[in-house]
Symmetry: C2
DNA sequence: GATTGATTTGGACAATTGTCCTAATTGTGG
DNA sequence: CCACAATTAGGACAATTGTCCAAATCAATC
């Protein structure tokens, strides 16, 4: 088993702390304490806070890619792949109700901070959007694929937002069923 | 014309700065500079940062109530009232693309900060939810009114989120048309 | 015009922030 | 075992944070 490098540990902890507490509210000291190293050692790997954010976004992009690739190998049908994405809301319902969607909340915060890495974070959304578009195209939706992809993406973002506000698990399950129903209606409409 | 009190000015500026920059990232100094008063004078009106947040939430609740009441007097039909809510996305598209939805982003931030006023901010959402439910009930939707209200709320939140990320005005208009279409289909289904 | 209360000022305060540096400690190859 | 590079530790730093206070100024009343 490969030993986890200190750098990777820092990025992993920072990723988690940024998600649960927000980027701005998480300090160097918080991350160093989480990893169990001194702030000086920390500086050896990352000179500025933006560099950590950059590494965290890299990690999230890589993990998102891995997840999307995994669905493409595991689920043979595009419909099941899209359903797997939608059901992320159920699988992650506990952290979502507590902290929201990791991607959406990061993008929202960086937009307010007018941060340089704003667009890099938006690329994670771009990954989802492009992947969903690909699945809809595989289903036979030609010109509508992009719009449907953004529609599913927006819908799930909205569900995550309200889930955080109202902490209502039944609401999540109801909306997930609704999105799945919408998806099946679109599929039916394609074969007509 | 009634002179605007210093206190009201502080709350107004704080409201705007919290929206555009976030609660955590906005400092006492920022607000004082925005109003044009000294930090000491600031303290005369608000002892802690949480007190300002409390006042800002009060203001937002009052303004939301005013807006909802206005729609009820101006628009005679429930459908037009709901459409007025949906079209907030278009009316406020510029600030939404820059800073997101004021209510959604505040709730998301307070959730991460695990802030005491988290639930007070969620009450603003409660206002919208209850008002939408009332409109759907007036349309004749009995048991589904609550679910439809949350559905419209979640949908518009999702559109706001993606609008901030992709800065795509055409997307906003397309989704607003979609929600309106959905609304009309629900209305038709009620009369059958 | 004097008195009194409301308002405003500028700065003190301890704590925390991101950043940076030097010295000590590791581990590795010769 | 030694030399050298990689890594770690601990603290210095200037700036900023939220909080708080004493003194100055304003406005209204008698």
């Amino acid at each position: 088993m490969a030993a986890v490098s200190t750098r990777d540990q820092i990025v992993e902890i920072a990723d988690d702390l940024f998600y649960r507490g927000g980027f701005e509210a998480t300090s160097f000291a918080d991350i160093a304490a989480g990893v169990g190293i001194s702030r000086g050692n920390f500086y050896y790997y990352f000179k500025t806070k933006d560099e950590i954010l950059d590494a965290v976004i890299d990690r999230r992009i890589a993990r998102t890619r891995g997840m999307l690739d995994g669905w493409e190998t595991e689920a043979p049908e595009p419909r099941e792949r899209i359903v797997a994405f939608i059901e992320l809301l159920i699988a992650n319902r506990a952290p979502i109700m507590a902290y929201g969607c990791p991607v959406g909340t990061l993008c929202a915060e960086l937009a307010k901070l007018d941060h340089v890495h704003q667009e890099r974070a938006a690329d994670i959304f771009g990954l989802f959007a492009h992947w969903l578009e690909k699945q809809f195209r595989a289903l036979g939706a030609e010109e509508a694929a992009r719009e449907w992809a953004l529609h599913v993406l927006a819908w799930s973002q909205g569900v995550a937002s309200l889930a955080t506000v109202f902490k209502d698990e039944a609401f999540i399950r109801r909306e997930v069923a609704d999105i799945t129903g919408w998806l099946d209606r679109q599929i039916v409409s394609l074969s007509q």
